[in-house]
């Protein structure tokens, strides 16, 4: 690892990390307990002890260009065992949040998603776009007659075109952010070998890391994050189910002319509803635990709650749309559907700048670590006292 000399402390960076819920960072005395009790930090990239001193000293480049910040899955073991109550898990969370803004392309979108004052503007964009389409179609002033069919209100082709354009832009943003982080890691941590894609993907799909977080405790203290593996698994596959549902519906419409709404017994419809329930259930647990274990499990910030709420409201409005459609309440069905579309836009189009961006950055970090670590052991070297290399400077 290259270390720039002389050190150039960025104290503003430190202040911002402290403000992101990591106030207790300053009591860290660098004992390294956190790195040892961490169930997933590796022998050659132990964290979060070094990250604590990097932030304390305002070493922004080092702190933001290590894979560690995204390898951490926030199990909270470090915070549970920290002798100084410095809450390293909160610092790692703050670094992740900061890094999303730091690597954001364009930069202002990162700011927009991290400060409450921009929230109205962020909602205004999809509202205006959808309202413009509806106004142009004449559906803004008078709702379509007859049985409730959402495509009469907002033709699917408009949605498809709008989302394909917007999501392409979002994907480009996400890709640029991920690439910037990848390059930064390369500069600070050294290059990496090829491959590792399949391994990384398997690790993510099986939630291996979340599992290790729960299964390799250093002692017996509760971390208050024991639910994390199961809850994240549920929200992950729930969301994946919703993506598959939407894609299948798209294919159904365009390839087979199978128009919506589809009947309840249809496997895709069942998948959609089950997935939606899974997402809501998981989010309920995640939200509840954040509130119930506030002190022990660490603080949550604006960005954290924003993402949780947007995902929750997206799913809930989806269910509501279906309910009011079946209940044939025309005056309610179309407005609710409108709100649902706005939330979907918020969730998906702003994803590289919200907490949702973790799907890019964590994947990138895991891939980088996978390549850097291949060949180096996952367990610490076992030395004899004789084999301990003591730096001569200490003698």
């Amino acid at each position: 690892m290259s270390t720039a000399m002389p050190l150039q402390p960025d104290l503003d960076f430190k202040r911002q990390i402290l403000a992101l819920g990591a106030h207790d960072l300053t009591s860290c005395y660098q004992c390294g307990t956190c790195s040892v009790v961490c169930p997933i930090s590796t022998p050659h990239n132990p964290f979060p002890r070094k990250e604590m001193v990097w932030v304390q000293w305002g070493l922004k480049d080092l702190a933001l260009s290590n894979s560690s910040i995204w390898l951490c899955h926030q199990c909270g073991t470090c915070t549970t065992y920290c002798p100084r109550d410095a809450k390293p898990a909160d610092v790692m969370a703050a670094l992740r949040e900061y890094s999303i803004g730091h690597y954001a392309v364009p930069r202002f979108m990162g700011r927009a998603l991290s400060e409450p004052k921009y929230l109205p503007a962020l909602f205004a964009i999809p509202i205006l776009i959808f309202a413009a389409i509806l106004g142009w179609l004449g559906n803004l002033t008078s709702l379509p007659e007859g049985p409730i069919v959402f495509s009469k209100f907002m033709p699917i082709v408009y949605i498809e075109v709008l989302f394909i354009v917007a999501l392409t832009l979002a994907a480009l943003g996400g890709l640029s952010g991920g690439l910037r982080y990848w390059r930064a890691m390369g500069d600070e941590m050294g290059g990496s070998r090829a491959g590792g894609f399949v391994d990384t993907l398997t690790t993510i799909l099986k939630h291996h890391r979340f599992k290790e977080c729960q299964e390799a405790p250093a002692g017996t203290r509760p971390t208050h994050k024991e639910h994390l593996h199961r809850s994240h698994l549920l929200v992950f596959y729930g969301f994946l189910g919703l993506v598959v549902t939407t894609t299948s519906v798209g294919i159904g419409i365009y390839a087979f002319g199978y128009l919506t709404p589809w009947p309840f017994w249809h496997p895709v419809k069942i998948l959609g509803n089950v997935s939606g329930v899974a997402v809501i259930a998981a989010l309920a647990v995640l939200g509840y635990r954040r509130l119930a274990d506030k002190r022990k499990a660490g603080k949550s910030t604006y960005s954290d709650w924003l993402f949780l709420n947007i995902l929750f409201l997206t799913t809930v409005t989806g269910f509501l749309s279906q309910l009011v459609r079946l209940a044939e309440i025309r005056e309610l069905a179309y407005p609710v559907y409108f709100v649902h579309l706005v939330f979907i836009f918020f969730l998906l189009v702003y994803f590289p700048y919200s907490k949702f961006a973790h799907l890019v950055y964590r994947t990138v970090a895991m891939l980088h670590a996978r390549r850097a670590d291949s060949g180096s052991p996952s367990e610490p070297r076992v030395l004899t006292v004789e084999g301990l290399q003591v730096p001569t400077a200490l003698r």
Binding site: T42, H44, P46, P83, R84, V385, E386, L388
Partner: protein, 428 residues
């Protein structure tokens, strides 16, 4: 002066609570200055924690030497009276006139005991030896330790079964054993009080990630003192508790349960020196042996740093910056490995050792609220002079964790304060 305070009867004697190094130092100093002194000690012997040490740092000399001198001074000074197995129940009154209730547990052995050991030979039951932290056992009737003062046996009534057995009484040629001895309470009237209640080792089993109590070869630093002491459970041979094999390598875990919000929030200030000292115990026993000390900050204040340099000059003693936060046992071989981040080389490592010594710290002795409102404590149960009634003075580790030399100096200062308190009352 407040007329209430200037009552006629002013007691000129001093009560010293605790017969450890601070207590006996204060007692001897005050008595040799001409004052009557009563020492109350809860154990069956004087000397306290110091009696359990193998050697002092930095001179590496045996504490018994200094204790013997102090015991001699006590024995030769008619102004000092002491009660063992006794504790203070309540304190009332004011400077010059304290009324103190003492409760003394029965020893079941009187002053006629000659320490002939005949009773031990016939005693049928045994008990874990608290003096050696349970690493060996004694009979229910036992001598607290080889050089105990007073040199009298004692019966552990939680182990002895007097109704079924009186073999010791039968065999004792001096009528020294009284199984019917009962607890007794009595009051003392004194002019000033010195609290020298000392410390106790922090319960290392509470440090759940360091395996004490789970792994036999993880011991505490006070246990190491007993292992190294010639009158200890192994006659001074440092061996592994699990299999009795000689120890070739030791890891010292500094700040085990100290400077830790979940355990003792403070630094005991002596454990770094104790570990450095104990490294010399290992090195003295086997020229091939090795010791490694894992630390956060190696704290050896003042001239103690010379001792630190001296120990570290030994190439078989190494120090590693990084706290041990996990101890693993090889399921097949039972070998221990300590895990730490080697902070200076940024690598997480495990080091295989025969024995792990936890440098667990010094907790205050008085943590049950006794002896009442006259004494003020800080949040760690150490005495707070500003919240303690006038005429009561703290000495040594009752006030905070300190080394032996500081405790003795502090005790002398407390004796001077107590003498002053009495003199000022008597002359007015």
């Amino acid at each position: 002066m407040d007329p209430q305070e200037s009552i006629a009867a002013v007691h000129r004697s001093i009560l010293v609570v605790g017969g450890g190094i601070a207590g006996i130092t204060a007692a001897v100093e005050a008595a040799e200055a001409g004052c009557d002194v009563v020492v109350v000690e809860k154990e069956a012997y004087l000397g306290g924690r110091v009696a359990q040490l193998h050697q002092y740092f930095p001179k590496l000399c045996p504490p018994y030497c200094g204790l013997e001198i102090n015991f001699q001074r006590i024995r030769n000074n008619r102004r000092i009276r002491f009660y063992t197995m006794a504790e203070v129940e309540t304190i009332s009154g004011q400077p010059g006139n304290f009324d103190v209730t003492i409760r003394q547990r029965p020893r079941y052995v009187n002053d006629r005991c000659t320490a002939c050991n005949d009773c031990v030979a016939v005693c049928p039951v045994d008990r874990p030896n608290a003096f050696n932290f349970g690493m060996d056992r004694t009979k229910a009737i036992y001598l607290p330790h080889a050089l105990a003062f007073p040199m009298k046996y004692v019966i552990d009534d939680s182990a002895c079964e007097p109704a079924a057995c009186a073999k010791c009484v039968e065999v004792c040629r001096y009528d020294a054993i009284e199984l019917q001895m009962a607890p007794k309470s009595f009051n003392l009237r004194v002019g000033a009080i010195i609290m020298a209640t000392g410390w106790k080792p922090y319960d290392a089993a509470k440090i759940d990630n360091l395996g004490f109590g789970r792994y036999a070869d993880v011991i505490t630093n006070v246990m190491m003192e007993r292992l190294a002491a010639p009158n200890g459970p192994t006659k001074g041979k440092i061996v592994r508790p699990s299999d009795g094999k000689p120890v070739k390598s030791v890891a010292f875990v500094q700040c085990a349960g100290q400077r830790d919000e979940a355990h003792l929030g403070y630094c005991s200030g002596i454990c770094c020196l104790a570990s450095l000292k104990q490294a010399t115990y290992i090195r003295a026993q086997d020229p091939e042996s090795r010791a490694v000390i894992f630390y956060i900050d190696l704290r050896t204040p003042g001239s103690y740093s010379l001792f630190s340099h001296k120990v570290q000059d030994d190439p078989h003693v190494s120090v590693v910056k990084g706290k041990v936060a996990r101890i693993l046992e090889d399921a097949a071989t039972g070998e221990l490995a300590v895990e730490a981040e080697h902070i200076l080389s940024l690598e997480k490592i495990r080091v295989k050792v025969d024995l792990v010594v936890l440098a667990s710290g010094m907790a205050a002795s008085l943590d049950d609220g006794k002896p009442g409102a006259a004494i003020g404590f800080d949040k760690d149960h150490f005495l707070l002079p500003e919240e303690t009634a006038p005429g009561i003075f703290a000495a040594g580790c009752a006030r905070g964790p300190v080394d032996v030399a500081t405790a003795a100096q502090d005790a002398t200062a407390a004796a001077l304060k107590a003498l002053g308190a009495i003199r000022s009352r008597a002359s007015s």
